[in-house]
């Protein structure tokens, strides 16, 4: 498959999956449950499915290994995000959390994913 087409298919399905999980999360109460669905592996689910189908499951498994590092970074970012959003406001707090995610994920990636 042409790389551009592959990227487009993943983008389309990834976006659809995020919307589907967000809608599912909104159906649930209380709000905390909606938060869980906001952090659902929707993009991962779509991307890994496409990778498995197109490139092969060993490539998808390798992506999942990389995702472990990213998810570990996400745990740290979310824990810090509770405070950073409270103290810095929604936009700056989220950006701070994303920066933390990037730093932790990249560090773990550099250490273990070479």
């Amino acid at each position: 498959m042409h790389p551009f087409l592959l990227v487009m298919i993943k983008a389309l399905l990834g976006g659809t999956a995020v919307v589907a999980f967000a809608a599912l999360g909104e159906l649930l109460r209380p709000r905390g449950l909606a938060g869980i669905f906001a952090a659902a592996p929707s993009v991962a689910l779509a991307s890994l499915a496409v990778t498995s189908a197109v490139t092969g499951s060993s490539s998808a498994a390798a992506q999942a290994v990389g995702m472990i590092a990213g998810a570990a970074g996400l745990v740290v970012a979310s824990l810090l995000g509770i405070e950073s959003v409270k103290r810095l406001g929604a936009l700056r707090g989220s950006l701070a959390a994303v920066t933390v995610w990037l730093l932790v994920g990249a560090s773990l990636g550099a250490l273990f994913l070479r």
């Binding site: 983008a11 967000a22 869980i36 592996p41 990213g70 970012a77 959003v85 707090g93 990249a106």
Partner: protein
């Protein structure tokens, strides 16, 4: 105001179909764009640098779009913080997803993904339930909002800056605003005092509100918020009066949970009433109320300062 003992277990998990429409098409569009961009980035990085590095982006923080869409709403902050609490649990679940996917995908793609998704759900919901049980065990259901005193500091600074005194009248927040403000060093110079007027009778007796006004408009109304602020200011001889009245738990007098009126009144008799109506759940409504009251108070004080500073 409702009796705290009567506060229902509002946060019992369940489905609410009507909530689906709470997300606007625009918000869905933003979420779609976010998912598409992250997926594309992950795909491009995979093509350029290999699947492992690309996989890193599959765990991109989904907190961002949720909070970004909330930015437009006035009540976004407590809501966003609440979402992120859930997101923390979800992220641990995502770690479970990634580990299961990495272990099982090479064997069978379909089953591996299904198992990983099931793993995410089990981990997330188990953690969520465990935290709820823990919260119930330590009595967190009746907790007071965790708001750093630092959020009250600008209000005290603004009051001191213009040598103004403040009187408070609180209904639904039960004195939480006064507790926060009086905890700031230097509060003694500017806080005259406050009333916790939980019942209609207390509002009438302590603040001198005509019971007919409460009967006509209801305790949770802009009219009563205004009367409360004026009454507190009058009773304590303060420059500024601030009052809050709202519904935190179950619907009260036909008013839905989450509806709150905050009034700030100045020395010149002018007053500003702010309305908030989003329901965050019994515990979180108070947090929102306290934060919004502090914010409106600070905004009003700074706008007053500007008027004073203006030449002529």
């Amino acid at each position: 105001m409702s009796d705290p003992a009567e506060r229902p277990d509002e946060e019992r998990p369940g489905f609410e179909l009507r909530k689906l429409s709470r997300i606007s098409p625009r918000e869905y569009l933003i979420r779609f764009a976010f998912g598409a961009v992250v997926s594309a980035v992950a795909a491009i990085v995979t093509l350029a640098f290999g699947p492992r590095l690309g996989g890193l982006f599959l765990a991109f923080p989904a907190i961002l779009p949720a909070t970004l869409t909330l930015l437009e709403k006035k009540e976004g902050l407590p809501q966003a913080a609440s979402d992120i609490r859930g997101a923390t649990i979800g992220s641990i679940g995502m770690l479970g997803f990634a580990i299961l996917a990495a272990a099982l995908l090479a064997r069978n793609a379909g089953l591996g993904l299904a198992a990983a998704l099931a793993g995410w759900m089990i981990v997330s919901f188990a953690l969520y339930s465990a935290l709820r049980l823990l919260a119930a065990a330590v009595g967190e259901r009746q907790y007071l909002p965790e708001i750093p005193t630092v959020e009250a500091e600008p209000v005290i600074a603004a009051l001191r800056g213009r040598e103004a005194t403040l009187a408070l009248a609180e209904s639904c927040t039960g004195g939480t605003i006064a507790a926060l403000l009086t905890n700031v060093p230097g509060a003694g110079e500017v806080i005259r005092g406050g009333f916790v007027t939980w019942t209609d009778e207390a509002k009438a007796r302590c603040l001198g509100i005509d019971p007919a006004i409460i009967a006509e408009h209801g305790a949770v109304s802009p009219e009563v918020a205004r009367e409360m602020a004026l009454g507190a200011r009058r009773a304590l001889g303060a420059d500024i009066g601030m009052a809050i009245t709202g519904v935190e738990g179950r619907p009260n007098d036909g008013r839905p949970p989450g509806l709150t009126y905050i009034c700030v009144t100045g020395a010149d008799g002018r007053n500003w009433v702010h309305r908030h109506s989003h329901d965050h759940g019994a515990g979180r409504n108070r947090e929102r109320d306290v934060r919004m009251a502090l914010r409106h108070l600070h905004q009003t004080l700074t706008s007053m300062e500007q008027r004073h500073d203006r030449p002529g």
